[in-house]
Each structure stands twice: as C-alpha cells, then as structure tokens.
Assembly symmetry: C2
Homo-oligomer: 435 residues x 2
Amino acid sequence: MPISGFPEWMPPQRMIEQRVLDRIRTTFELYGFSPLETRSVEPLDTLLSKGETSKEVYLLRRLQADENTKDDDALGLHFDLTVPFARFVMENAGKLQFPFRRYQIQKVWRGERPQEGRYREFLQADIDVVNRGELPFHYDCEMPLVIGDALGGLPVPRVRIQVNNRKICEGFYRGLGLTDTAQVLRTVDKLDKIGPARVAEALIETAGATRAQADACLELAAISADDGSFVDTVRKLGVTDPLLDEGLAELLQVVETAREHAPGLVTAELKIARGLDYYTGTVYETLLEGYERFGSISSGGRYDNLADTGKERFPGVGYSIGVSRMLGVLFGQNALHVSRSVPTCVLVALPSDEQRPASDRIAAALRKRGIPTEVAPTAAKFGKQIQYADRRGIPYVWFPGEPDTVKDIRSGEQVEADAAEWQPPAGDLHPVIAG
Amino acid sequence: MPISGFPEWMPPQRMIEQRVLDRIRTTFELYGFSPLETRSVEPLDTLLSKGETSKEVYLLRRLQADENTKDDDALGLHFDLTVPFARFVMENAGKLQFPFRRYQIQKVWRGERPQEGRYREFLQADIDVVNRGELPFHYDCEMPLVIGDALGGLPVPRVRIQVNNRKICEGFYRGLGLTDTAQVLRTVDKLDKIGPARVAEALIETAGATRAQADACLELAAISADDGSFVDTVRKLGVTDPLLDEGLAELLQVVETAREHAPGLVTAELKIARGLDYYTGTVYETLLEGYERFGSISSGGRYDNLADTGKERFPGVGYSIGVSRMLGVLFGQNALHVSRSVPTCVLVALPSDEQRPASDRIAAALRKRGIPTEVAPTAAKFGKQIQYADRRGIPYVWFPGEPDTVKDIRSGEQVEADAAEWQPPAGDLHPVIAG
C-alpha cells in the first residue's frame, strides 16, 4: 500500500529523475563543488541546535531495544542537508581546505502532515560554500548562476530566480523607525498568502507599526526589477540606513553579475524574506515559468553563522534544489516524458533455445560498444518477441542469421548488420527525456 | 561526533564511491535493467513478513507525536532492498511488464551491534529479474556475468564469484538419508567459522547424522572447481537423488556460461549455503582477490517465491553488491586512491578584484566545454593562489593576460592558451581513481 508522503516513482519516472540528478551533479562539479554524503541520522540535539521546531523530526528506535537500557537514544533522521553539513564542517574543520565548496544530494525526512506537494521523504540537491572567518561576497553572486546552469540544461520549464537581501529589509524597517524587524519580516513574508491589506493590519497589530510605516513596508515589498533600477526605486521611498545601503549594494552585485552571465535568470524581488530560516543577507527563491502557483522549488541564502565552534566562525552561502518537489509538480502536470520504459536499445531475438549462446554473444558484442541490450526471455514466435520489445519501447530487434539483420520496429525497416560495427542513431542509444 | 556504524566518507572517498556507483549503474543499464527506487520505510509487518528476525529493524517515531494517538505506527527503515522490491512488485504487478528487470541502488539500515566491517547504515546495489509464474533458468546464468562486468571495470581487486545450488545440497543430504536438510545446511554454512571437525560434531548432535553421513556432507562441501568437473566429483560420492541431479545440471549451466563469457570469474564452490536466506536454488557469493579474509562483498541467489499474492507466484533471481562493505574494506586497507580532492581541473587566477568579471568569463568559457573550473577566492598574491590549487590537487592555474597563459603546476610548464580552445589531456579532465 502507498504510504502518504512517501512517494515512489515508476521506472520511467525514476529514469527522468536520474537524468535530472546527473545534470545537477555534473553542473555542480563543473563549478568545482566536491561531493559529500553525510549519514542519514544525527543526534537529536544536533537536529534541534538551530532552534528549529517547524520541521518535525523522525526519531529512530531499535525494534528489539531493551526498554530499560539506553539505546542509541535520541538519533533522528535529518530534515535538511544544512544542519548535517554544519556539523560535518565543525567536526572535520582540521582536515578540510577552506573555502570549502561541497554539494550533497540526499534524501531528507520530515514527519509533517503530508499535503499537496509536501513529502515526508524527499530528495534535495544542495550546494554550499563555507569559509573560516569571512566569506567574500562574490560567492553570493555565483550561487544563482550554478542553479540556473544546472536546471537550464534540463527539459523543465525555464527557471526564474528571485533574489532579495535581508539587510535591505532590516535596514529599511530600522530606518523607518520600526524596532522589531524580525516580526516585520515574518509578517511581510505572508504577503502571497494573505494579501497586502491583512499584512498591513498585522504589522500595525503585532509589530507596532503606524499606518504610514505599514504602507512603506508594503511599498518596499512591491519592488521588483530585473536590472539595477530597484536601487533608485528604493531610494525614492526616502528611508536611509547604513544596513539598507549595504544590502542594496550587495543585491545590485548579484543582479548585475547574473545579467552578464545569464540574462533573464535573476530578478530582484524585494518581498522575498524566507521568514523562518536563519539567513543573514542574500536570499534566493526559484520559480518554474508557468508553474509559479506551486511556489519555490529551490531556495537558499547567506548565513553568517552556519557553524560556530566558539573560537571560530564559519559563514556560508548555499542553495538547495527540491528535486522531489520539482519533479512531483511536473509529474503531476504530466509535463515530463521519457521515450521508453527501459534502458534497453536492442532486443536480440532467440530463434531457438539451442541458439541462446549465439544470441548471448551478439548481446555481449553490442554491450561492449556501449549499446544497452537484452536477449529475448524465451524462444517464442518472433511476433511475440517483437511484442516484448514493443511493450517496453525498445526500438530495435536483432535477428541472428546469415547475415544478422536488425529491425527498427517503429518504422519496420530491417537491414543487414554486424554486431561488431552497427551503431544506432545517437538519439536512440539512451531513453530521451522531453518536456 | 562520529556515530558507531554510520560511516561518513571524506570528499575524496565519496568521489571514489560515486565513480564505483556510476560504473555499476551503467553496467546494469547496459544489460537492460530499469532503475527503481523504493521509499526508505515499510510497514513493520512487511519488514517481518519473511519471518526474518536476524536483521534488527529501526522503527520511526515522530518527535512531536501525541503519545495517545495512533502515529504512523509501525513504520520501519528497510534492512535490504529485496523485501521492498517484493512489496513493490505485488503492489504494481498490473502496471509492470514481466519478466521485470530492475536495479536499485539505495541505503539500507540495520540496528545491529556494529562490528568490524558491519555498518548500521550502508549502500547496496541490487539487480533482480522477476517473472509471473515461472522464471527461465538462464537468468541464473546471467547474474554473475552482470556483476563481473560491473566490478571488473573498476580499479578494485579481481572478483571471484563462488556459486552453488541449494538443490545439490538438499538432494545430496536427502539421498544420504538425512531428513532435516535445513538444519544440515545451516550447520555446514558454519564451515569457514568453526572448521570441519566441529561441523561434523554439530551435524551428529543437531541434525541426526551418523559419522559417515557427516563425513559425506563435509566431502561434498569440500568440492570446488572452475569447470564442469565438479559433476563427476559429486557423482563419485555415490549419492543419488533427483533433486541432486537437477541441481548439478543447473550449476553446470551457470559454470559453463561463465566459462564462455568471462573465463576465470566463476567457481563452483559446494560449501556455499547462505544459511539464513530464503533461496531455493542457485546461490552466489563474491570474494575480492587478496581480500578473501573479509568475506563476501556481494551475494545473491534464486528465490522461487520472492512474492506470492495467493493467486500468483513471482519467482526471481537477484544479486546484491554491498557497496559500503566493499569500499569500507578497501578504504580500510588504503587500497583505493583518487588523483585530487576536488573535481576542479583549472583554477582561474585573479590579478585584482576589479578583474573578477574577466576571470569569471574565462571560467564560463572553460565550463561550457566541460572543463571543471573555479575562480580564485581572492586577489591574493599569485603564490597564494597557486597554493590554493596545489592543496586541492587542481592541476592547472590559468593566468588572464595578453595573451592568457595556463600553467601545469605539477611540471611548472606554462603555455599561451585561449579559453575557447584549450583542452587538458584527457587524464587530467576528471579526477582519476586508481587501485
């Protein structure tokens, strides 16, 4: 029986997922990120160390554990890849080279009530750069380029990255005279959910804002631009604050770097807040064009205190692709397809049971040259063997003979062929993923 | 802090692991196995449905679960990939094409006491072929070829696959007059651990064997051959039984198929029993040459009742590579190396902060042609930038200029280069794994 929140793809969907993961991984490595995989479990106190209570943890218990003995107690499955990464960095700081660039593609688990597009087990693909002491800002500019490159090479809808900087919000709120900037940020973060009128009311009620201050916050949140013009738009609101200036300069650098390397990828979107997360500067969200209503499928930001040993500080910037979430949305809309349900390109037919060694030799010769090949399961009538291929979408059936022939079962075309030389068209060698 | 039984590789080891997994996956697909990933959890009754009690299950509990409500109860992490696969096949039989060939590469968890080379979290790579009704025997012959091909293409020691067939053992024991063949099998399975003298004693004490019967069992277990000669050797022991004949014919077919396609890969080893598992015919174990003392790193067999819906039977044959176990052994013996600790092939130097856009453009041009590239973190002195590359094993440093030059920091050789055309030697493009 399916278990709510624990998705399971059929093999064709898994083929698509693997192709997506291959592209993501290859891109991350092109940018020099090293692979890392951490264990799936962390001590409960590590999982809760960021004061995070919104993500429900699954604890482990051994079935045959003695109730009276202390049993691995307080081990839980990780709910993201950032907390384990921070723990790994502190634990291994002496062995790592900083700045440390790593990617990590793993399952995570959250025991939340499953709802539309939310899973309890899902796959994330993260990149982070972390340094000792200080981390140069240019890494904040690099992140969206890596993500745009990874997802841009896939048959998924175009991605749009929305960027903001918490320093802009906090500086602006402070410059306005609001003191509980965290509460303002959390409230403004609800804009898409509850609309501007209710956000304004909430700001007045819970963050001590006047009507004018609330309106100014909403004006700031409404600013959006795909070039540096947002700086002037903010300035025209007449608020000044040194942190605001710093945030504007940083965001401008992100937007301008993206405009040069990946025009159309990045928008400055001043309503983005990522309310509950521990970001301290740049924040990113990612929308799929035409699927904006499903929300961000990938997000991240700068955290000046990813890890802190007391003696040393490890600031970082990172980005996480919600692979299961993105694919769940696209599969749900039937927006991704694969050309066949098996990797197999050629089925070698079996004229009789006695001839299996000969068919096996043909298959071995084809595989040796990288052509995925199966041999027919039984020496059934050729019509039935062709049906075996057809049902799986295998494009070619190979008939041993004097000479051998190979048939494209889609067109019916059949030609003489030599297993040591024949090559399928490049587009037929592996299953093709299309939008 | 490290948690006993939950291994974590450093990035260079993870690079090796990924290369191993890529080879395994590519090989499985060459043979037409489709990818599958099942959820990590199963209901407890599914996990225990094979009557398996030797593998300790981790149960999940939500941290904030209300003690009084029924909470996802009895969900546990899977301890192998066979039980989830059997469940998946029964659940989706109507949507799958049979015979169904799938591979599955995933973590599994066992809450056992960790000991030398045993993990609580580890990675397995499985292939299985399953059919409705009957499964032709030739699939038993194919399995070792796939595994030999997958592991043979890696810089790991040569693998030797040891094959036996339970029908030989059971038929022989029955032909000898022993009735509790399961108990005999379990006892003989301890041969490598406790030696022949104590096995003989145990057979007499627990399986009702006479001294002569016990000796005959030991004689059978001592038979080993890398060709079909084992058939005569067994016959000379003078025991006859129809099941024995069937087993001998099957094992002969496995050995002869392997001799043709992969000479030296497979040995008939009549002591192999895989005691506690639910196999019904062929059984496989796998040793690494020079690492035999660490035991089998990969095993499998034929199970005539992988799944059974009551109405239908789904026999299968499968093989599981213990990836973590194999790599744990080889890492522990320092037997695998990688040429650098990052994927990066080129570090683009940064003459000054103002020139970052130019260095970024060079990096983008190199990446576009598949060359993993980073830009130096700061405009430090070139000596320090070269040190950044050197510490990570990055072989090339690129100096922007008029013209650009690229330096192989191992040889010191520096040449003019154009980012739109320069190509590193193929052996430098990606990290190289070596034994």
